[in-house]
Amino acid sequence: MTPDRTPIPAGDVSTIRGRIQAPVLTWLTRVVIVVGVLGAVLPGAVGTGVATTAVGAVMAAPLLRVTWLVFRWSQEHDRRFVTVGLGLLSVIALGAVLSALGVGS
């Protein structure tokens, strides 16, 4: 492997610095640790509901992160990556629809 030097890339540096994402994810991690344990130890329907909340939050967070990025890229007028991001969310939505229709089950 030969190290090389890449020229400084052209174009504006994105203004997305994680100033909102990072604290939100930090708090989500803390909350989900507690809610996850509660969901496993609480009995009955309450426990199932709390557990579903913990798992649902973990499942939804990455998708909400992509949605947030699409919104921020639209503010940066980056149409190319807004399209790519919407394409990604569409693929996931298509998978959900196919699954709901009984494909694969």
Binding site: I8, I16, P62, D78
Partner: protein, 273 residues
């Protein structure tokens, strides 16, 4: 299997997995199968762990500005497509096939972990702090190396990289193991993305891949929420403990130990199948 067993396994897998930088699911899913759970039950639990670990690692990597979101979402388009296909067809695959697939995945991860390489891109003294980050309209960028060095980079061979990402997605969707052990080497060796950026971007993308597959498993009613919620907590706490221990151990030694452990697990899976 009761709740305590998977929780302990998830904690241990998260600690050991974070030491080697491969993530815990690659250990958790084979361990759950070796201890008696079916591969179809273990896969969603592995994906829950992947998504949780991705969330937990996010804040530090965002603060470092080492994640390239535009590159991540681009490669994720193919990876999530693979994950959706993998999750849908996993219902048609036999348990023996899934066990062999897991064994192959564990063995490949062992090889990928042992063969990781060092610095590829060089720092540019002309770069300043304002250059750090990704570029609008492109997948290129620059990252900070140490306290005062900044390294520009430009990913190459995008088409080949995307092909590997679809394979990684299929493995994640069908077997429940994070495809990170395919994604990170594909980015570093094929697309020539710096290791730190590739690792941070992969951590972001494996969470999206896991979510894409989990949505399907949830609709199919294949997620045991009580066990999964405890695995979420165990893996998050284990990841924090592992990150604390990691700073005191030599990375090369831990990677070799983890590779050896994965090979043992692969052998146990083959024997069980």
């Amino acid at each position: 299997m009761d709740l305590v067993g998977p929780a302990i396994l998830a904690f241990g897998a998260a600690v050991v997995g974070s030491l080697g930088g491969l993530g815990g699911a690659i250990l958790l899913v084979p361990l759950l199968v070796v201890t008696g759970m079916s591969p179809t039950e273990a896969a969603p639990l592995g994906l829950v762990m992947v998504a949780a670990s991705s969330i937990a690692a996010g804040p530090r990597q965002l603060t470092e500005r080492s994640v390239n979101h535009r590159l991540g979402v681009t490669v994720e388009l193919l990876a999530s497509s693979g994950a959706v296909v993998g999750a849908i067809v996993s219902g048609y695959l036999s348990e023996t096939f899934l066990t062999y697939l897991l064994a192959s995945v564990a063995a490949l991860a062992a090889l990928a972990g042992a063969g990781r390489k060092g610095l590829r891109n060089l720092p540019d003294p002309a770069c300043v702090d304002a250059d750090v980050g990704e570029r609008v309209g492109a997948i290129a960028g620059a990252y900070r190396l140490g306290d005062d060095q900044i390294v520009p980079y430009r990913p190459r061979r995008l088409a080949s990289g995307l092909a590997f990402m679809s394979v990684a997605g299929f493995v994640a969707g069908s077997a429940g193991a994070s495809g990170g052990f395919i994604k990170t080497p594909a980015m570093t060796e094929l697309m020539q993305v710096p290791t730190r950026v590739a690792a941070a971007t992969t951590t972001f993308t494996v969470g999206v891949t896991a979510s894409a597959a989990l949505v399907i498993y949830a609709i199919q009613g294949r997620v045991d929420v009580e066990t999964a919620s405890l695995i979420v907590s165990s893996s998050l706490v284990g990841g924090v403990v592992g990150a604390g221990v990691q700073s005191r151990l030599a990375p090369a030694v831990t990677r070799r130990l983890l590779s050896a452990l994965l090979l043992v697990i692969a052998a146990l899976l083959v024997a069980r199948a």
